[in-house]
């Protein structure tokens, strides 16, 4: 089962999406579809497509898909309970936050929350309270999945950290949308200047504004996993095609964040995967916008051959303003916590070698 076929099914329900008619599928193709749907966390989308008559199923296939979707929804409500616990402790500590992705997008941007599955809790916290947020979650019983590059790095330059609560619930605490240069050019104050709310279990939980949610979806779809995953691509199309957007505000924000190329390319990738036509002006962006030098160099660190976390971190130096800050950034990447270097790079010397190779590789690509 190719990604293209799952993408076709995954476009079901999008405004303007081409009518879909798939199936019936034999056992091998059905098994392949379900495995792909589980891997892409797209079981609810497939279930809705089947319920809508766009995916023909046998009685046994329908029962199997329905059972899998039921389990997916069990997981989602448990994660929403965990999200409420996280929000509760953050509020109690007076830490400004925004619930990201998952539950926020499911309830606010899809026809119904049952369309969108998620596998963890994502929360953005204000950078100056980032360390406090980690500490309150650790007091809740959480433990960091990965050690910090160097004490203080994450709160100043990082994307965030993964904290695993008891029962195995994963909470991604974000300082920014992504690591590397595009995460460093976001004006994080913008994200806390405005907000919306989602109602979870009778509690109003702060989330990003509509425009910031779409921007985040673009970052996640383009700069997250490689190759891009289906649900993040669907998120971009879902938000771009549903409801009203302040496109001028969105593009202006992307411009301030030096990330118009991220938005343009993400929307292009989403429209291609979902086989939809985006509304103007988004459609024109995907066609007309040409990345500037900073964007092109930065995109290469995320998308080019030899892309890696090390290259993204090395490329981040170009996004840091001021010589003093640049020196501090480079020093932090090189003079890492000994335990981090030992676990991630096999030692300090190898870490320096990798960083040097990453920077040389980035230079050669320009």
């Amino acid at each position: 089962m190719t990604f293209d076929t799952l993408g076709t099914i995954g476009s079901y329900g999008l405004p303007g999406a081409a009518p879909v008619s798939i199936g019936p599928l034999g056992a091998p193709e059905w098994g392949s579809l379900l495995r792909a749907a589980v891997d892409q966390r797209a079981v609810p989308l497939v279930a809705h497509a089947a319920a809508g008559g766009c995916l023909e199923t046998s009685s046994a296939q329908w029962d199997e898909l329905t059972s899998m979707n039921e389990q997916s929804m069990h997981a989602c409500v448990r994660l929403e309970r965990a999200a409420l616990e996280v929000v509760w402790v953050l509020r109690g500590a007076g830490i400004p936050h925004r619930l990201l992705k998952g539950a926020a997008v499911a309830h606010l941007d899809y026809p119904d929350a049952s369309w969108r599955a998620f596998g963890d809790v994502d929360v953005l916290v204000r950078a100056d309270r980032y360390d406090d947020a980690i500490h309150v979650l650790e007091r809740l019983g959480g433990r960091r999945r990965y050690s910090e590059v160097r004490p203080g790095f994450d709160s100043r330059w990082g994307k965030g950290a993964c904290v695993v609560l008891d029962r195995g619930v994963q909470v991604d605490v974000h300082r920014s949308f992504v690591a590397g240069p595009f995460g460093l050019t976001i004006d994080l104050n913008d994200l806390f200047a405005v907000s919306e709310a989602v109602l979870l279990g009778g509690v109003e939980v702060d989330v990003l504004s509509r425009e910031h949610r779409l921007l985040h979806a673009c970052y996640h779809a383009l700069l997250g996993d490689a190759p891009a995953r289906l649900v993040p691509l669907r998120d971009v199309a879902q938000m771009a095609l549903s409801g009203t957007r302040d496109w001028e505000e969105l593009w202006g924000c992307a411009s301030r964040w030096h990330s118009r190329a991220v938005v343009a390319r993400a929307m292009h990738a989403s429209a291609t995967a979902m086989n939809v036509i985006l509304p103007e002006p988004a459609r024109s962006w995907t066609v007309d916008y040409v990345a500037d030098r900073f964007e092109a160099r930065s995109l290469d660190a995320y998308l080019g051959p030899g892309r890696s976390y090390a290259r993204q971190m090395a490329a981040g130096v170009h996004a840091v303003r001021g010589l003093g800050a640049k020196l501090a950034y480079v020093r932090s990447m090189l003079a890492v916590d000994a335990d981090y270097a030992r676990r991630h790079d096999g030692g300090y010397r190898r870490r320096v070698q990798r960083a040097w190779r990453a920077q040389r590789s980035a230079g050669a690509a320009r």
Binding site: P44, A47, A51, W62, T66, S67, N69, E70, M73, H74, C76, V77, R78, E80, R81, D112, A113, S114, L200, G201, G202, V203
Partner: protein, 97 residues
């Protein structure tokens, strides 16, 4: 006496605002406020949940489901009372005066 049998017949049942819910072809997945395990309501239980989109007395729920399933109310009442009580215990429903 079953707890719900002692409840005043004018008492209404409402969906708990704190419950976390998803609906689909599987029925209704509900995570009540008093449990860490979600339950799936299907068949008549899902129909009961649907009736409680608005606050209802147990008698009203019985009457609607009896008509829906073509059964006598007295045949339906024990199951409805039991389901309502279980859902209250789970924190999926609340009783309101």
């Amino acid at each position: 006496m079953h707890p719900s049998e002692s409840a005043p017949k004018t008492q209404r049942y409402v969906r708990s605002p704190g419950a976390l819910v998803r609906e689909g072809a599987f029925g209704v997945v509900v995570l009540g406020t008093e449990t860490s395990d979600a339950v799936t309501l299907s068949g008549t239980a899902a129909a009961l949940w649907d009736v409680l989109a608005d606050p209802q007395t147990s008698t009203a729920v019985v009457d609607v489901l009896a008509e829906q399933f073509g059964l006598a109310p007295e045949r339906v009442r024990p199951d409805v009372d039991s389901a309502l009580e279980q859902l209250v215990q789970l924190g999926a429903l609340e009783r309101r005066a």
